[in-house]
Symmetry: C2
Subunit: 259 residues, 2 copies
């Protein structure tokens, strides 16, 4: 995104605010600790390239996060054009969330559709995603690093302080046998016998895990296994949704209930 | 989509049902009239190509719609491989909808994002879309024929009987001055002063029109003009959403309220 685009996005705000609108991500850095210790921080190379495009210089302020609920500001202390050193000026830990949205989704055959889900769910609000391989899955590999890049870009775009956790893909059977996620557990699949709607089943202020199947849907055996393991069958409405749409709709419902 | 994919999609169903899972679209054809008059119909060329891929032959049954709420079945009467003649066997007019979702959206700079919105909104349920040019729009042209193709593909994929109407793009000011759409009218934009959530404002069984601005959001003048013309300001939640995400989220809320 260039400066003009940033300006258009923020249209009526002052330039100082434009700079703050750009969120710089420091993965794996404890910003609270660095802020308290008043330690100068080097901006990661990828993020430094953005600052260069924005033509930021010493004295300018940027907005920062480490993706774990920490948000703050930093003043550019020194810059060589490639390397930026910043001093954290105002870092806060956001209050813990009262709920969690965990989507367990079979990756789509067309990976762009799964990446789209990651982007949109990050914007709307999602805490963790577990890709699962199912009997009818039409895909068997996944580049988690690529998905993480999509999530980081969406987190920065929507100025969020939390980066969703994207778990390592796992076979659905293994997930069901080993998972001990807290809160409510749902499985959404296409079946006329399922009448209870997710919007009426989700409780406020509660962690929620929702299973979404592949293009060929879950097998009968998988549905039985999920229900045996405490996943309650729910409907997402009367429409026939693609995998990635169903996953996003489910994620949006959890957020709407808690919004 | 090839036969194998169709089979995987429908996994546990019989082959006859597989064929019916493929929806064939007859634009501009009054299927009810043709059904009653027992007139043989020629399948449009683009759709005929799909039937060829599915290797359908005389005697096979397909599912048909004209996109105006009509759904039915047709038996293939004759086929040359390129040309298919069908006889309608069971055509019904779906009951009228009790509500309508009309989204008035500024097309995104990246047209793929707008097309994505059209696809997903069609799946979830939308009745009409009016693209509008705003003061901060970063795009000034639109290929409606391309958007219509996206909507047709999504309608067929999700086995719907209604094709959303995509209106000709219009300047926001002109839309506001000339529009006489019935029901409720909302404008969603990014402003801390807007506190009422769309989910609490939408009435059941009512036509709803919702304005969504471009990447640079509406100008103050546009917001004032919309409010002067009866559009009520609403929030879509506390998250910062992209244009196409905001439009989809608004569309989903209208459907959830009526589901």
């Amino acid at each position: 995104m260039n400066l003009l685009q940033v300006c258009v996005q923020a249209c009526s705000l002052s330039f100082v605010v434009f700079i703050r609108m750009h969120l710089t991500y420091f993965p794996g850095i404890d910003l609270i600790h660095h802020s308290q210790a008043d330690i100068l921080l080097e901006v990661p190379a990828e993020e430094a390239a953005h600052l260069k495009v924005l033509r930021l210089k010493p004295g300018d302020t940027i907005r920062v996060t480490d993706g774990t609920g920490t948000i703050g500001e930093a003043e550019i202390f020194n810059s060589t054009g490639k390397q930026y050193l910043v001093r954290l000026t105002n870092v806060q830990q956001m209050p813990p969330k009262t709920y969690e949205a965990h989507l367990i989704v079979a990756p789509t055959k067309n990976i762009a559709r799964f990446e789209w889900f990651i982007e949109k769910a990050t914007e709307i609000g999602i805490d963790s995603i577990t890709p699962v391989w199912c009997e009818h899955s039409e895909r068997s590999h996944l580049r988690i690093d690529r998905l993480q890049k999509v999530a980081v870009a969406a987190m920065k775009q929507s100025l969020k302080s939390r980066l969703p956790v994207i778990n390592v893909p796992v076979k659905l059977d293994e997930f069901l046998k080993s998972s001990q996620t807290p809160g409510q557990h749902f499985i959404a699949w296409i079946d006329d016998s399922v009448t209870g709607h997710l919007k009426e089943a989700v409780a406020k202020d509660t962690p929620v895990s929702i299973l979404i199947g592949p293009e060929g849907d879950f097998s009968k055996r998988e549905v039985d296994l999920a229900q045996f393991n405490g996943f309650q069958a729910v409907s997402l409405g009367k429409e026939r949704l693609r995998t990635e749409t169903a996953a996003l709709v489910a994620c949006h419902i959890v957020n709407l209930i808690n919004d």
